[in-house]
């Protein structure tokens, strides 16, 4: 049974991680396949961000909003599923629109009341992303 302080630590971790980011997958109803759209380890992710200033983009910021749904304890780890909404705000005028919805499937390592993110898979429901984006969710 998960303790309330552990759940609190996990929730805080998920919410904080909305400010940072991993693997993005989705299921295509058109071709009946799971697809991987982005898959980087920590080094790959660092490189991706290091390269960003060399690329062109519209620089519209993203806001991620997550809600922790379920926390299933398995030994010293927990499998956590959270709902995710990503909003995109245009620089000119500041209009915000819903960009994507999906779920975080996180593996979290617990040490007492400390929680560390071991693995994250972003499972997107939204598959139409307009002109796309360089920054993963």
């Amino acid at each position: 049974m998960i303790k309330s302080e552990q759940r609190q630590a996990i929730e805080e971790l998920v919410y904080r991680s909305c400010l940072a980011l991993d693997t993005i997958t989705t299921h295509s109803a058109e071709i009946k396949r799971d697809m991987v759209w982005l898959d980087h380890d920590k080094k790959g992710m660092e490189t991706l961000f290091t390269n960003l200033p060399k690329h062109n983009s519209d620089h519209s910021p993203l806001t991620r909003h997550a809600t922790v749904y379920t926390v299933d304890l398995a030994g010293s780890e927990a499998n956590v599923v959270s709902a995710l909404q990503v909003f995109r705000t245009q620089l000119d005028g500041g209009a915000t629109e819903l960009f994507a919805v999906g779920r975080f499937h996180d593996t979290v390592k617990l040490d007492g009341s400390t929680a560390k993110l071991v693995k994250r898979v972003v499972r997107l429901e939204t598959r139409q992303l307009g002109y796309g984006y360089h920054v993963p969710f």
Partner: protein
Amino acid sequence: MGRTAAEWSAPPKFPATHYVDSRLYTDEAIFNEEKEKLFRPSWIIACHESELPEAFDYRLFTHPAGVPLIVVRGDDAKVRAFYNICPHRGNTILYDPSGNAKRMTCIFHQWSFDTRGNCVDITREEQGYQHRVSKKDVGLREVKCEVAYGGFVWVNLLDDCVPLREFIGGALDILEPYMQEPMELFHFHKAHVRTNFKLWHDTNSEFYHDYMHYFNRITGMLQPGYFERKYTPFPNGHATVGSMQIQYDKYEGSKERAVGWPKMARGGWYMVDLFPGMTYNLRTSVMRIDTSIPLGPNEVLIEFRGLGLKRDTAEERAQRVFDHNTIWGPFGRNLHEDLLGVTGQGRAMRKGTDSRWVLQGREENSTIHDEVGMRHYYAEWSKRMGRPAYDPY
């Protein structure tokens, strides 16, 4: 020095073949005419055969002329295409974008059709029609359909269309050596962007915009052989781009595409742009196909497909997926930039902005920064539309 309104509106000082009128991208009447004159008579890629591996597998496709289609593999393994319109009351027959259906049954009144287009059941037929209607008279509308050029499913709406081979006119010969092995789809997504479909095709038809792509500059433009890549025009508005050796390892985070492609030289990259809005793009380890479905003068849905080889091992497939996503996925380095570029054109050229001309005047002996690919496209556009692209009114 800036220009006055009169100077801005004056035709460019180029031959008339080297620029087009911006209103080509915004005019509703021209757009409707394009659907009839360009898309309806053309062969269009609806999907790939690997999307229909089993008998009765189907795939929905909205034809660029506006017609909703069902592409289905029959009990005899043949792929056929039909209107996704019930002959009874005009309802949509199939709703899910793909599936497996021995019988295609309209949910409205349960009229049912087999995968050869025959009507096989009319509910309460005798009571309602008293033998006045025969099932053979209410079959589905079938359209021409062929599987060819790498296993792609091509459709044509006209009963008396030109043969597919005549339409392609040799433009895909450059890829024939690389399409001998069966391919398999691993990626599909659609992008809905506010721009004209021709602007997307233009982007695929010129490489001068490599200045927009850091990835392409570092792996291509700065490498030997880049400025020798050549365009070759083909009949019916198609064009090809010759290969070079792309240095994928020059981009940090990328590496040589070691998984390669059968018979293709290391780092090779061929492109074939097909009129009026499709592109084959074979970049060493991945085949990408773009199909444009215009929705309005300033609105297009682009279908993107990524394919590897059917015989891929899990490791090979994973590498192809990684290579694809690095530049071509929805989070890829290049696709976002390309789509952003044409969205910017759509914004600047939308009705009322006083955009007037688009220049296509670069001449570099048909090499990579020459704009001959676009000029060739608009020559065909002008011929089929019966309007010169530089003066469409």
